[in-house]
Symmetry: C2
């Protein structure tokens, strides 16, 4: 139903600000109940395609005219973030280790404290520039087998998915920071300016917390876009 | 319909990962057509309450258990951003001027180049700390009348709304930057570390672009959260 209404909008060439047909007009037009039309319209509102204005009807949304090419609300791996921005992506594995969860890691991943984890620190390069410094922690059992038989330079989310732990949603918190001084010194990453830090917990469809990430994106190169609605 | 399904989920105490009733079960239960149920479920998927897993059915979404208290996808004025984080908010107006649109402003606001605009530069304080430096440009006619008869320390979005220009959506781009050196020097804002810059174009429900904002949020104090889905 909502696909039919979307098609109608496209067919009639309705533009942002144009008034949409009423519920009863659409109900007649498509020969379905008004409640079905109403649900479809609610979905279109949710998607930001139409906008209900109190007492005036529904209008093609302004947001429809706003293009967010790679919205931050879409979960993407770092590889996707960088290739989507046109970079040729390579990785350097700085460290890979097994250990026990710190209090922060345990809280983020909902693990017992001291639960076994894997920690991976990498630099992701775009066109040979260090664009993202990525610190990841996973519960040990999400990636079974000895850690030294794995190529850690590839996609971590693909590796997780291959073990039935596909990340389908994540809660991300964005802030502006300096890179930790220890890393600046040890990995020659000083003097590059502010970094956009994305702290993120990745969940599978069944609610399992499988990835704790602290990703530092080079401020001068990487930004994120998002559509906001009142 | 989708409210009834939501109520059912709450009533049965379904938790993230639990399987939801099938379309036909829900259709029987509520005595409505399967297409109505399907639209309602699609809406719940859009809202991230349920998750369809190919061939296995629909599950209560993990995202349901993720709390984003003040998601960045919700449009908020700076006043709301800061009061929502518990700060007592005050403002200092650094400059207010009339002028003609720069090429960047004209493009962002879809104005003719050299169209008349109002420019406002402010510091927003939280508990007397400078937390946001906010540069705003509005098309001149969105706020009619001489600029010197207005109190520019209050809510700009409220002033716009009072003239029929309520901002209902915005496209925001977030990056990590240093505060422009000119401002650091002139307004004694140096040495505070990185800032989270939100570049934003605000639109009314009818698609009018009424606000162009470059807001610099103090990195050590302000962060934003967002829920991401694959």
């Amino acid at each position: 139903m909502h696909q039919q209404i979307s098609a109608l909008i496209a067919q009639l060439g309705l533009k942002p600000g144009d008034r949409l047909h009423t519920e009863s007009e659409l109900s007649e037009l498509f020969g379905v109940s008004r409640s079905t039309v109403r649900e479809a319209l609610r979905l279109l509102e949710q998607q930001g395609v139409v906008n209900a204005v109190q007492g005036q009807g529904r209008f093609i949304s302004a947001s429809g005219s706003l293009r967010v090419e790679r919205p931050m609300t879409k979960y993407e791996s770092i590889t996707e973030v960088l290739t989507g921005r046109g970079y040729a992506v390579t990785s350097a594995v700085l460290s890979i280790e097994e250990g026990t969860a710190t209090p922060e890691e345990a809280e983020a991943l909902e693990l017992e404290s001291d639960a076994p984890v894997i920690r991976l620190l990498r630099i992701r390069y775009g066109d040979d520039k260090p664009l993202v410094v990525s610190a990841n922690t996973m519960p040990r059992e999400t990636l079974p087998g000895p850690i030294d038989h794995r190529d850690w330079s590839g996609s971590l989310t693909a590796a997780l998915a291959a073990h039935g732990n596909r990340v389908t949603s994540a809660l991300a918190t964005i802030s502006a920071v300096e890179l930790p001084e220890e890393w600046q010194a040890r990995y020659s990453l000083g003097g590059l300016g502010p970094w956009l830090r994305v702290f993120e917990v990745g969940l599978t469809a069944t609610g399992r917390r499988v990835l704790y990430a602290l990703d530092y994106h080079l401020g001068s190169e990487i930004s994120f876009s998002v559509l906001r609605r009142s």
